[in-house]
Amino acid sequence: MKPRFVMVLLLVAGASLGTSCHRKPAAAKSDPLSRAYDSEQDWNDPQRVIPLNYQEAQGKRVFYQYCVWCHADSTPAGPSNRSNLNPMPPLASDGAVFNSLSDDLLRNTITLGGSAVGKSTLMPPWGNTLKQDDVNAVITFYRAIAQPPYQPPARPGPQYSVR
């Protein structure tokens, strides 16, 4: 009789402990691609949608205002100017060109123009027109839509142990 009573008490205590254990938050819904701040269609595969975060979405906005005319084959108004230029500017999504270039080099090319980094003078400098945040945003947008996909360089290890 008594051990049974003790058992019951222990069970109750255990149950009340169990409920307070933390639960994993519900898993994300099935289609994570549309669940983003904004999205961009993959330039090579219309079926695929690339999710964009806030900064990438701002890059998309700046890109479609300033850059799309020469760095894409179709524009929001009129034909693309790309094929008209020699050397032909690379497509924004061309990972083969941009993936190997560092953020710093891209930032300098956009801010100071092509001639400042030994590229074509046809690329004008945008440093007086775009804010630094806009330039960074455009770079993150390029990284997001790159095909083949962009792999960020490995984070440099700590110089010395903090411990």
């Binding site: 008490l9 254990c21 519900a26 669940r35 983003a36 806030y54 701002q58 003078t121």
Partner: protein, 704 residues
């Protein structure tokens, strides 16, 4: 009691005592153990352990305290404890996906997370310290976390004006305006315009009963002669704004009967010059000239036509006016001619400009529309209706009010309807218990409710009066986002600055210019001092930019500066005197304070300057990547072949200094020219002149 037994009892008691003490102590221990195992404490311990595996442990733990961390924003009445578990939210080194949730850092946004907390944007219950209470709908808290795809709704709660950083919200707000939701609903930040749908007072003289029947039954289908074109979804911008009302057969008959009787004044057919008509009778091939005139006038800047190219039928053209592929099967030919001559006589609010027609042009263009933009089989599936009986008219009149037609359409003598649908100004703050889900199987959330209601109003309420819209998935998400942003409340103190009042001050000049400005509806496409359309260039500073003579010539024969654009300025056949009045006003009044006309002396330009400027243009700055001169160059910027006749030299100087100061959203990059370079470039550009009028441009036509 026997003493030996007493010993037994006390022994038994001792046992009971011991056991109950243990139980009691165990019971007491439950509380501290439970406290120890509270989920936020477990997450905090996990965070410390996690931080120790990272290289920057010291930094990660610098401001860590083992307590409930809280962000309190008294003026917005927000208490936010999310950062208790989301410890790494502001640590830049936890940005990438290698950091597990809930410790990952927030992606870069313009607001500081430590100042604003989480629930202002993400919703959910900020006070909660349990995972489920904070994120999900519970009995005590009905607003769950807002899914990221709708997150821009939260931007719109405070930022009531257009917000280019939140494209989905802007698109949703645009759809709300375009689909005339404000006809039936009250909406935050959307005002009722003067005209929503067309005025129907004289509709009986414009279209037939059969056409009204077809239109009411299915406004979303147009039938092309080579097959059926379904204009599906709003994504195609040429979808009619008229939604589909689910009308029964006798309702269609009655409403079309009633509307076809509305004709307060009979249309007087226009009497063409008999010589023009006689010429037509002899030369039926002149209809081709009508088509040429139609294209030269650039009607497609505002109206679209179905065009078949390579087996694919598409609507091409603007969406300011209605789509015209089959307009001749819709309207009465006499009405068409009257309308073309003076649209404002039929609709005072019409945005269509009043063209200057010669009898010949009017005759040819109207004949072209009647013979080519038509489809004899358009109304072939409409039953034979005849003229309406009195009972049909009376039923139609009643239905007009019952279906809420009067919310968008005006009929003289019929009281306009307002607030036909529910007030939506605080829809985004509605709780589940305030919503009507009917027997639908959708999840009980506000987002699911709005999407279901907009997709199919009957799904949540079998007796819904709301008509049927067809929206693409992305537009549905955008519209839902805009609706969720309607919080109904006023902004907290200190944030009123976020509401920039929309520019309601209409720019309505007086005098001879004002009359022409109204006649040609310049403001439908052009913007003046912040008022007007955005299709064409802003003309607020046109007087500083363009030379007087150029303006006159351009108005008489508008040739676009950007030949690759589909939409161009229509040719109004403006006579010289009127063009001079317009140019006088623009040159005198629309001046930029930044451009000092007297500052640049054209006569001081030397040939050395010109040759230096040419060199700078072609070699150092390679302007030809975007601008065309003659036949070579890019087409991002305007063609500069005639810039010496087009612009004022003072404008060029200022433009080269800072283009954005003259046209804020121009994409011309601002460069750092020296003064000498700027003068040389101006001198060179001013020498670029083309003589003689160019050919008349022609719009892309059908079937080409």
């Amino acid at each position: 009691m026997i003493p030996e037994e007493m010993g037994k009892v006390s022994k038994r008691f001792r046992w009971a005592f011991a056991v109950s003490s243990v139980v009691f102590l165990a019971g007491l221990a439950v509380s501290p153990v439970r406290e120890y195992l509270r989920s936020w404490k477990r997450y905090e311990r996990d965070y410390v352990r996690f931080a120790q595996t990272r290289p920057d442990t010291k930094r990660l733990l610098a401001d860590f305290r083992f307590e409930v961390s809280q962000i309190w924003i008294p003026k917005m009445d927000v208490v936010d404890r999310c950062t208790t578990c989301h410890q790494g939210i502001t640590q830049p080194s936890l940005q990438d996906s290698s950091a597990p949730q809930p410790f990952r850092a927030h992606p870069l946004i313009p607001h500081r997370v430590r100042d604003w907390g989480c629930v202002i944007c993400h919703r959910g219950q900020g006070l909660a310290t349990e995972v489920r209470d904070a994120h999900e709908t519970t009995l005590a808290w009905e607003q769950p976390i807002l899914s990221v795809e709708y997150i821009q709704a939260s931007c719109g709660v405070c930022h009531r004006s257009d917000l280019k950083e939140a494209p989905r919200l802007d698109r949703g707000r645009e759809i709300l305006v375009r689909l005339n939701c404000v006809g039936c609903h009250r909406l935050q930040g959307v005002e009722r315009p003067a005209m929503l749908g067309p005025d129907l007072t004289n509709i009986g003289g414009k279209v037939t009963r059969a056409w009204i029947y077809k239109w009411l039954k299915e406004p979303r289908t147009i039938t092309a002669s080579d097959g059926t074109v379904e204009v599906n979804g709003y994504e195609n911008e040429d979808e009619p704004r008229m939604p589909k009302f689910r009308l029964g057969e006798n309702e269609l008959v009655a409403l079309s009967g009633y509307l076809s009787t509305l004709q307060s004044e009979k249309i007087q057919p226009y009497k063409f010059d008999p010589r023009v008509v006689a010429a037509w009778a002899k030369r039926p091939d002149l209809v081709e000239q009508g088509e040429t005139r139609f294209r030269q006038m650039f009607c497609v800047t505002c109206h679209s036509l179905a065009v078949t190219r390579a087996g694919e039928t598409k609507l091409i053209g603007g969406d300011i006016g209605p789509e015209l592929t089959k307009v001749a099967s819709k309207v009465n030919p006499d009405w068409l001619v009257t309308w073309l001559r003076n649209p404002q006589a039929y609709f005072p609010h019409a945005e269509m400009p009043r063209y200057q027609w010669s009898d010949q042009d009017l005759f040819l263009v109207s004949r072209y529309i009647e013979s080519n933009l038509t489809d004899t089989s358009l109304l072939s599936d409409v039953p034979n209706l005849g003229s309406p009986s009195l009972a049909e008219v009376q039923l139609g009149k009643r239905l007009f009010m019952e279906k809420g037609c009067g919310s968008c359409h005006v009929i003289q003598g019929v009281a306009p309807q307002t607030d036909f649908g529910p007030d939506l100004t605080s829809l985004g703050r509605k709780t589940i218990s305030q919503l009507e889900f009917g027997n639908s199987k959708i999840p009980r959330t506000l987002v699911a409710y709005i999407e279901a209601k907009v997709t199919n109003p009957l799904s949540v309420n079998a007796a819904a009066r709301m008509p049927q819209y067809t929206l693409s998935q992305s537009d549905l998400t955008a519209l839902t986002t805009a609706l969720l942003s309607m919080s109904g409340s006023s902004l907290p103190a200190g944030l009123e600055g976020l509401v920039q009042p929309a520019e309601h001050v209409k720019f309505r000049p007086a005098g001879a210019y004002g009359e022409l400005y109204e006649r040609y509806k310049c403001y439908v496409c052009h913007r003046f001092n912040g008022y007007g359309g955005t299709l064409a260039p802003d003309l607020s500073f046109e007087g500083s930019r363009a030379q007087h003579k150029w303006i006159v010539d351009f108005l008489k024969n508008p040739q676009t500066l950007r030949p690759t654009l589909t939409f161009r300025m229509p040719q109004f056949n403006i006579p010289t005197e009127e063009a001079t009045v317009l140019a006088d006003y623009l040159a005198m009044v629309t001046q930029s304070p930044n451009v000092n006309m007297a500052a640049v002396e054209t006569k001081a330009f030397t040939p050395q300057m010109v040759s230096l400027g040419k060199q700078l243009y072609e070699v150092k700055y390679q302007c030809q990547s975007c601008h065309t001169i003659g036949s070579s160059g890019g087409y991002v910027g305007p063609n500069l072949s005639n810039v010496g006749n087009w612009t004022n030299s003072a404008w060029i100087e200022e433009w080269l200094k800072d283009p954005q100061s003259l046209v804020p959203d121009t994409i011309e990059p601002r460069r750092s020219f020296t003064d000498e370079e700027r003068t040389a470039l101006t001198a060179y550009l001013m020498t670029l002149k083309q003589s003689g009028p160019g050919k008349v441009a022609t719009a892309v036509g059908r079937g080409q």
